[in-house]
Point group: C2
Chain length 404, copies 2
């Protein structure tokens, strides 16, 4: 397996595009994206567990009941959530896209992201769809990645190439962050595509299995979005024998999927609203996986630790504090903590107690762009990783006046 360039068009048979259709006032920001498979594809998805759900989720859920889809349409600038006519608009968005592409509406995945509670006008979408569809191309993957961005500062794409049954396959995807990110059983908006042949059941199994250790381990701000969704389309155009059960091919597929999703996780976390640093908390030596995950995510979610990381302050007491209140059953007196980055590694706590360390070295380590917080629980063999970002002045600025 190797990492390749591109995102949703890395795999055979996928084209995409993104345009500014007029939902957002800023003309330089794209607000409508389309991903299209040349042939109908196996499809799977996971959704937010928030009880308040964006209207598009219900429509997408219904369309994916038969396990196939052929296109994804997604707008940014408006979440189409908590509106009187949200469902109607999501249906219209899907119907208009289907008509434009000449495929059944049931094969459309529809999604929205942006402000909650403002009516979404279908007019600019209807007007923009012909141009959007006409511009579909393999090179359109970057435009599609841009069309789903909200407060993201960079587009997020990743792809890998791997082999199944002697055939070269590819899997890629795009994601949007970067606030209201604290996925729970589901995640933010991520659209994945692959040319591997895999049944809808095994595709769903792969996706559901993957997100538990990837997107569900990210937190930007502790707020689980109303519009979270990860979808994957597998069009089979690589020509491999279809995966219909577990085994070597399925394991290889899972590995490819995991490589792409972890790459997207890191991009989402590193581009969290206002973030200057990617934080990666790696917990090892846990009695079980649930304990490791709970502890890692609690550390990544701590506002106090996030602010300390912004200030490059090795305030490890906040790491212990966050583990202590996480609900994970840990033996505090066995906890070790180190900080690591490109500038080196420094132990700051052993057996739950502070150790002497060089504040200068700690400052150098924590001044890098990617920080690893290494936690050893010394109570078993399970481990987990969680991703997040620092808490900065810009997070407050961005969210102090998001709607205007």
């Amino acid at each position: 397996m190797r990492v390749v360039e591109g995102g949703v068009c890395a795999a055979k048979g996928f084209t995409a595009n993104g345009i500014h259709c007029g939902i957002r006032k800023n003309h330089s920001k794209k607000d409508l994206s389309l991903i299209f498979s040349a042939v109908p594809a196996s499809a799977a998805a996971v959704y937010t567990t928030n009880l308040v759900k964006g209207a598009p989720l219900a429509v997408t859920k219904r369309h994916l009941q038969n396990g196939t889809a052929q296109a994804v349409v997604c707008n940014s600038g408006n979440a189409n959530t908590c509106n009187a006519n949200g469902r109607e608009i999501a249906e219209a968005m899907s119907d208009l896209t289907a008509k434009q592409l000449g495929i059944p509406a049931e094969d459309i995945i529809v999604a929205s992201t942006g402000v909650i509670g403002q009516p979404l006008d279908i007019t600019p979408i209807a007007a923009g769809l012909p141009l959007l569809a006409a511009g579909l191309s393999a090179e359109g993957c970057h435009a599609a990645a841009e069309g789903i961005m909200t407060t993201d500062t960079v587009r997020k794409e990743a792809a890998v190439e791997f082999t199944l049954g002697g055939r070269t396959c590819r899997l890629g995807g795009i994601a949007k962050g970067s606030g209201m990110i604290h996925p729970n059983m589901a995640t933010m908006l991520v659209f994945l595509t692959t040319d591997a042949a895999i049944s809808p059941q095994m595709l769903q199994k792969a996706l559901s299995g993957d997100v538990a250790g990837t997107f569900n381990m990210i937190s930007i701000d502790g707020d689980t979005s109303t519009n979270d969704m990860v979808t994957i389309l597998a069009n089979g155009m690589a020509g491999n024998p279809e995966i219909t059960a577990g085994g070597g091919d399925f394991a290889e597929f899972m590995k490819a999927l995991n490589t792409v999703t972890i790459a997207l996780c890191r991009k989402i976390a590193g581009d969290g609203e206002g973030a200057t640093k990617l934080l990666e908390c790696r917990v090892s030596g846990a009695a079980d996986s649930a304990t490791a995950k709970t502890a890692a995510k609690s550390v990544i979610c701590s506002s106090l630790l996030k602010a300390a990381m912004f200030g490059a302050d090795a305030n490890w007491g906040r790491v212990l504090c966050a583990i202590g209140y996480s609900g994970a059953a840990v033996d505090v007196e066995k906890i070790d903590v180190s900080f690591q980055s490109a500038a080196g590694c420094i132990a700051v706590c052993q057996n739950g107690t502070g150790v002497d360390f060089s504040e200068e070295l700690a400052k150098r380590i924590l001044s890098e762009k990617e920080i690893e917080i290494l936690v050893g629980l010394n109570s078993g063999n399970a481990c987990a990783t969680a991703w997040g970002c620092d808490l900065t002045y810009d997070y407050v600025r961005i969210n102090g006046d998001y709607r205007t």
Copy 2:
């Protein structure tokens, strides 16, 4: 019952003092406080549920096993937590205080607050205790309230006067905020005193019953402290017939206690680190009390909503989002939301859907110092209130470099 001036010395027989002994580098900041009852008192306490606990908590817990205490000693500037010799220092702090006051060490409540993981030097405490004890007076209550402050910008005191069995009683207290505040089954540092006569068992029952709806409903930043503690001393000097069971006197005592604790809650939340506004989320119409509490606290904890309130942005979608992911079983399509302050009240969401409202009026309402977020669930008769504050640039500044 009426609100009176003062804090821990409002009740008969209590004196207090606070000094700078040298734990903190800044000489203008007090760092050691003492509260003393002229006679031994019934005592009760609740503690943090964080597995990482400050060393003083274990010592205090042991001392309160017999339900009596006579003095509280508390330092700021160092939490005495995650240190190799923390327990030893807490014992020494307690022993030295007892010796100075001529009472048994078992009657001392000892507490610490400040940075986690740095050794606490007993030397300045030992040197400061004679001066601290010599200065005990009823007027010393303000100094005591100042000696427990960390990033608090104002001292926090409250007191009430009430009647039990024809005798005038008083109950008052002091609190320290203002970061790492997300109490869970316990709370931040709060020291309460009363001259009412009440048995240790009923005192504990009153305190445990009270915190569930008061201190446990505050959140500044979602981080449950390692050193949370609320204690209460009842010295009986008011001369009322001792409360030893439920009934009218106990209900009156609970009411007095609740008035003081809610006043302290509002002061703690309004003085949260970096805060410019007190947020009060009042959920009504819930099917049960647990649902109301869960929803109210989730709203108060949302970083996105907190930032929106800082910006006076009526982004009510974030209120719905926070209720939706809270875990509370609510019917989203029945939720009403209004914002209220001294400048008026405005409905922004009805039946889970946005309503037209004046952005100018909303801005005026949200520009006040105290904001109420009113949530109607329209599914029953239970209600709950949670307190918090906005998320500001100053929260990031304060916590980006707390240790230096």
